[in-house]
Symmetry: C2
């Protein structure tokens, strides 16, 4: 029914082993036989049986990319970049060492994160790329760490992209479980952003943070507070609100912030999507941006220029980082061994949504 390696071997008049060798290209084969085999493959329209080869080789060509929210471009951009890096820039490779890069959506749920990790473990995945902030819950961190350790032990490469090195959680295991870490410099980026606002004369600044217990949320908030402290300002907890990384959160937050501080002149959002919500709410109230209120975001997503004026934000090279993660996940000789950490810079981008403080 379905054509197998043996069929190809038969038709090409060679042994199955030889066919396997030309297909995997990791062994010397005479050009003549190689051509013959390739022809047989084409004639029979043969497609390797993944499970069988994975079983025999004890490793598969699956690479899993875990994201917190697939509907959010922040993750979409990184995942897309990683995927195109892994599957080849334009789906070129034929039967070769082609990897299957797939993205798994955890929806921010700890359980699903673990479930996917188990599923990937079951598939004997070649690599796993974890993107975005991690949940800061001791129990869950420990569970994830344990799972990753097992994955690593089974030969799966672990790449962290935009997630702090595991050791930082305090809980965690020999760094030997992680192949490489791309750490976003959220803290410095956030600090620069708030410094920018302080330079413009703002002193009453609202902050719309992400969900609590997320590393990204915490680091960005810390950067904000660092800037405030250095400027000698006291941090007012009432001016920081937590919520999901979405537009609605920003929209709702502005009203609350104005109640807490009628003299508010600026709002920093934990990401661009939230900032867009803040902008919309400001417009609805007749507040001009930036004359009456300065608004800033984070990430520099394409939509940061969707609003008028365009958003001042902190640019994170998401595409580049994703591509790099894809490379680290599949390259033959990873640039560095276990425990390797690269810091991805965050750059302040000043646009029209921030201006001098009005009061």
């Amino acid at each position: 029914m379905t054509v197998t390696l043996a069929d190809v071997a038969h038709r090409a008049q060679v042994s199955p082993a030889t066919v396997s060798r030309v297909l995997n290209g990791n062994y010397p084969v005479a050009e003549a036989t190689r051509a013959r085999v390739l022809r047989a493959v084409a004639d029979l329209d043969y497609v390797v049986n993944g499970p069988a080869s994975a079983l025999a080789a004890a490793t598969s060509d699956l690479v899993g990319i875990l994201v917190n929210d697939i509907a959010d471009p922040f993750f979409g951009i990184m995942a897309g970049a990683a995927q195109s890096r892994i599957s080849g820039p334009d789906g070129t490779a034929r039967t070769g060492g082609e990897k299957l890069a797939v993205v798994c959506n955890t929806g921010g749920s700890p359980e699903r994160e673990l479930t996917y990790l188990t599923l990937l473990q079951r598939q004997r995945a070649a690599a796993v790329i974890l993107t975005g902030g991690a949940i800061e819950d001791t129990e869950h961190s420990a569970a994830v760490a344990a799972k990753l350790a097992k994955l690593a032990a089974a030969g799966t490469r672990i790449i962290l992209c935009g997630r702090p090195a595991l050791t930082e959680g305090g809980v965690l295991p020999g760094s030997s479980t992680v192949t490489a870490t791309l750490s976003f410099d959220n803290r410095t980026g956030a600090r620069r952003l708030t410094e920018h606002l302080l330079t413009l004369g703002h002193t009453r600044i609202g902050y719309v943070a992400g969900p609590v217990e997320r590393t990204t949320t915490r680091h960005r908030l810390e950067g904000h507070r660092d800037a405030l402290r250095e400027a000698g300002l006291v941090y007012d907890p009432a001016l920081t609100l937590h919520g999901p990384y979405d537009r609605a959160s920003g929209h709702a937050a502005l009203a609350q912030l104005l109640v807490a501080e009628p003299d508010l002149t600026a709002v920093v959002a934990a990401n661009d999507t939230i900032a867009l919500g803040v902008c919309a709410a400001a417009r609805e109230r007749g507040l001009r941006i930036p004359e009456d209120l300065s608004v800033a975001g984070f990430d520099d997503l394409p939509s940061a220029t969707d609003t008028v004026p365009a958003l001042t934000t902190v640019r994170l090279p998401l595409y580049e980082a994703g591509a790099r993660a894809g490379l680290l996940a599949t390259t033959a000789n990873p640039p560095a061994g276990p425990g390797y950490v690269e810091t991805v810079p965050a750059e302040l981008v000043v646009r029209g949504s921030t201006g001098r403080a009005s009061k």
Copy 2:
């Protein structure tokens, strides 16, 4: 090193066959032994070897979801919905018939679409869900059709979500290759939208279409033209511009449209993202929406309410459709056999971005 089924069997004092049976739960096993096995599984922290079981069973638990652009929420929403439907609402199931739903980003490239299909075929995927519009190129359609036929022949379920039934391409194969089709009613939705504008007195309406040779692009444009024709208006090709489904395309299009027709009073965009670009361009030119220019989109993405005023658009139940596709891909008894088609309705949503024609 890695624990196998045999290890579990040994510890539970049963045969490997029995362990297999309790794990797959599709065979009667005494409650006592079942419990014993489960305990052994837990004690040993056993994880099924996917490739091995896929090889033996001749089918895997992999479900592939193909999307054109993972950074676009249009796809993200559908993919996320399908994925959560497949992997269980909250990653509950343990060792059971858990499927691994993964999304593959083709980036709109025909080659990559085919590559992913091959990779999925290689993995003996349980199902494949193709989302979004298809590319209308005879050669490519034929290649995809052939590939899908092979997948289907190998037992993989094929679900089309937001993509017209294959037969419509004209090229294509016995409907028996496709398990089910969820067809978006783009045509009717587009017609309703343009009718809405006509009712408001608009007669010079610009249309910013998607890329040429895409079913979605064509259907939406046809709906637009249908409405024009029924109203007795002549269709002016100069008022239709093609471009990618992104913001920049809409932004650039407005300028061109105004050159082609200075008396333009309305612009219909092929999707919300393009519409947002049109809105931004309008604001930059000092055109008030909707007083000077009415703008409408399509899809009703969350960002449709990001602009002020909010976008009049056509709502597509993306989440519901994605979830439905996920269900059809995994449910034991698909609601209907091969060639089954469900039409997903498109509903007009009138908001503030459209108003009476000014001239």
